[in-house]
Amino acid sequence: MTFTAQSIPLSTLTSAKYTRLVSFENSNSFLKRHDSEGSLVIAAGHRENPSVHAHTDDENPIVILEGQRPRWYGARVCQGDHVSNSHRSKIETARESFAACLRPSDDGRDLIVIASHWDKPALESLKVALQGQYKVIRNGVKIQCAVTQVIATMEGLGSYHSAKDRLKDGSTLLIELGYGTAEIWFMDETGRIVDGAPVTRLGVINLVKAIADDPTVRALTQDNSGTVNLSAISQALQQDTLGKVSAANWQAVKAKYASEFLKDFQGYLRTQHAFHLQSATNLVLTGGGAALLSSIQPKLSQVFIVPHHPQTASVRGAYERQMANV
């Protein structure tokens, strides 16, 4: 029997499986995905065999990948004792991290994945790591899909695309301030990367550690062993309070250490990248650090172009850049 488009029920047509384009970025701090359904950001830490009381949602999923033990990912896990990805390479963790970002609507589909990474020589390895079949149970939902193609691309290009509408003609210095590291990219007037490198010193973790060492913060937040929870400070940076620290004091602490961080940032750029900094027509600041710092120090937006939702600008831009080529 031959079906024509007219003879197939509409519900069948609309539920038909199709190949899906997905943008993915594996980070030691946050796993990021973007597709036609929107963006998903998951804190990268996990805990194995969580208790039955684990409260899950899309950003805090329990994931079982091909017979492995259940892993609970997300910000809730990272508030306590958890396994960090920071001691493993992004190639090694790519497959399990991508599995954590699968959606129920991926079930039965072929996925084409745009994978962003800062390390150009590792892009081929990233392709190999991500390709293949996935059998995952995520928050109790079975998802079977196949990554049939991986388009490995340099980090920086996605953010550049996100900011493209606001750029003037000329070269661009683009700085992605992440939690653990930052990347600095120099683009020519065509948007081609001509130089760039990751910089550990500029990661937001340095700001978090400086705040943790503040005598007042330490006195008010340390536990019996004298430890200050860095994850709590990281989360509090986005909020108005930290534990019992008053809102006014917390704002003052944030402003003080953000100021110190920015002076270090200035000094680093002055000594390491003065030529590119002063010759670039456009400065772009993106990444989660851009959202944080521009909220604490608004005058950054006088000189930097900060894309909308800078934490996901890279993964969104990589998706939109690819779609623009279709």
């Binding site: 402003a255 200035q266 750029l269 003065a274 900094l277 670039a280 930097f304």
Partner: protein
């Protein structure tokens, strides 16, 4: 002590150390990489009276001496307005230069 800067193939300028420091400070604001490029702009706009250009710092005119190169002698281009470069505005400051000049003291 004086500093001599080559501005073009046909012109060079000799300035005192003090003026050289002013010019360098102005370069940091305007983003010019070579003193010659900036001085050319200022000379074309203001002739030898550079004092008005230097953020209100009044300089003795004898501190500045623009002279033709001994190699080729051509008239000094004075008061020749350029279509787009005769006025320095905040738009001329590279964003990176502006960032380096920002004060983040709390």
């Amino acid at each position: 002590m004086s500093v001599r800067w080559r501005m073009s193939k046909t012109l060079q300028i000799t300035v005192t150390d003090e003026v050289a420091q002013h010019i360098k400070a102005l370069m940091a604001v305007t983003g010019h990489e070579r003193p010659g490029a900036l001085i050319n702009l200022l000379v074309r706009r203001y002739g030898q009276d550079l004092a008005r250009c230097l953020s209100g710092d009044v300089l003795p005119t004898q501190d500045i001496k623009v002279q033709p190169s001994p190699v080729v002698s051509l008239p000094t281009p004075v008061n020749v307005p350029l279509p787009h470069e005769d006025v320095l505005t905040s738009q001329d400051i590279a964003p990176g230069t502006a960032f380096l000049a920002m004060d983040f003291e709390t």
